[in-house]
């Protein structure tokens, strides 16, 4: 784990990408790799805890987070205006691995966010993005690679993914989608890495509220993950946040 760094930084922009999806861009130079996350906070003592949000993008003089507005914390983050201050702590966790070979990136809904850094890193990767109602963030992927497949609605994005064509598949999305993908990958040569989600308190491995069970013992989503290789954690451990 990289040493955590605490920053109070200014908001550059906070843009609504879809009815409940925002991209928050914050000023400064930040460390962070694809799949890692920061703990964000722009309030005093309510809500109690900071919010773990995966890195969407890092560039010269900024870091960006894409998040879905699901409760009080994300509502407050969505209300930030340019020039407002936000607290960041991180980066935390183990992200997607550095590999060489044929790679597919498979994202579902909000789960497309942490894959964008991977798309920047692996420009030859084939990208599959599935959305239930509205697509968002797709043009950014299309700027990086011409191989972007998108589905919206009932059609599953997994229908387009042929695992035998890849050596590595990086995925993030609803746990049922990840589980279905894992079944599809079984028996092929492809190695599947997925980003998991769980409520966190400390964000750095001390409190054990984000522990999940696996065949070789418990894993902390915040410190050992959020990216795990398929099989490292039990599927039913990911059902409840």
């Amino acid at each position: 784990m990289q040493k955590g760094r605490f920053t109070v930084a200014k908001v550059i922009s906070n843009v609504r990408y879809a009815p409940d999806i925002n991209v928050l861009k914050v000023e400064g130079d930040y460390a962070g790799a694809m799949g890692q996350f920061y703990m964000l906070r722009c309030w005093d003592s309510f809500p109690l805890l900071s919010r773990p949000i995966s890195i969407y993008d890092i560039g010269d003089g900024y870091i960006a987070f894409m998040f879905r507005i699901v409760g009080t914390g994300t509502e407050l983050l969505a209300g930030l205006q340019p020039g407002d201050e936000v607290q960041l702590e991180g980066p935390f966790g183990q992200g997607f691995p550095e590999v060489e070979g044929r790679i597919a990136l498979v994202g579902g809904g909000m789960g497309t966010a942490p894959l964008y850094m991977a798309a920047k890193r692996y420009t030859q990767a084939e990208v599959f993005l599935g959305f239930s109602t509205t697509a968002f963030g797709v043009p950014a992927f299309e700027e990086r690679t011409s191989q972007v497949t998108v589905t919206v609605g009932a059609e599953s994005i997994l229908e387009h993914v042929q695992p035998e064509r890849y050596e590595y598949i990086f995925a993030c999305g609803p746990h049922l989608m990840l589980e279905a993908l894992a079944h599809k990958v079984e028996g092929t040569e492809a190695r599947l890495f997925l980003s998991a989600e769980k409520r966190m308190a400390c964000g750095m491995g001390a409190c054990l509220v984000c522990s999940v069970q696996g065949p070789h013992g418990n894993r902390k989503v915040c410190k050992d993950g959020p990216v795990f290789e398929a099989g490292e954690v039990d599927w039913d451990a990911l059902h409840d946040l």
């Binding site: 109690l48 409520r199 308190a201 001390a206 409190c207 418990n218 409840d240």
Partner: protein, 310 residues
Amino acid sequence: MHSMTCNIAGVELKNPVIMASGTFGFGREYAQLYDPGLLGGISGKGITLHPRAGNKGSRMQETASGMMNSVGLENPGVEAFLRDELESMTQWDTAVMINLGGADIEEYVKAASIINDACAAQRREGHRTADMLELNISCPNVKEGGMQFGIRTEVARQVVREVRMATALPLIVKLSPGAEDLTAMAVMCEEEGADGISLVNTFQAMKIDIRRRRSAFQQTYAGLSGPAIKPIALRMVHQTAQAVRIPVIGMGGITSAEDIVEFIMAGAAAVQVGTYNFMNLRAGVELISGLEAWMRQERVQALDEIRGIV
């Protein structure tokens, strides 16, 4: 010259701020952010005789001004703790409490004597070792044991008595706010030779997932902590401190230096800080400097001047 020093069972703390069990791991993670040697003490993640995988399903829900947890004493077991963690935990210049949980008396006693032997051996070899044993008879999140010892005074007496015989370490008993008679429980600990008590552990609480029409937690109930419980915790510490002569370590929802002052005025010898570590990863150092600033401003030279004055 302001002095924040406290004395708990013969152990000198440089200040009254102890990190509460379960919120600080064994110190390694926070040590990347600040020097744990600045703290008064650390109470380690609760350990048990055998390794425990902890609870399945959701382990945490946020509440208004608080959080509920249902970790279920996930820990590597006493042997692995002594082998892999104790040396690291005692590297910092701070008081170290080993927090011990258990499912039945035999487990508590066995683990306590293993810890006692290991600490004695370390001391014989001239190494630093743990300073205190914090006996957790109050974990609400394990099905068997834990909580039931925390409720009934006479059930708890047996555990305290036998663990007291099994260890030469200063013994602190951590009480549950769910005790049927809290002051009687505290007096019992004193009678059985405990060197101090700490309270409160989390309050047993509940969250229902209305969409799925079941508890949000697989163990049904979970432990509530954070600012929401502070006024009740403070009242309990006040009542307890008046009932016993041994030191009382107060905790429950502390998020500021002023909160620490309240607990000390209520009679606490020192305090523990738990949930605030999650709200502010540098809680420990900020509370200590805040307390120092308060003492300077109020011209309080030593905490004894205000301890138990209410």
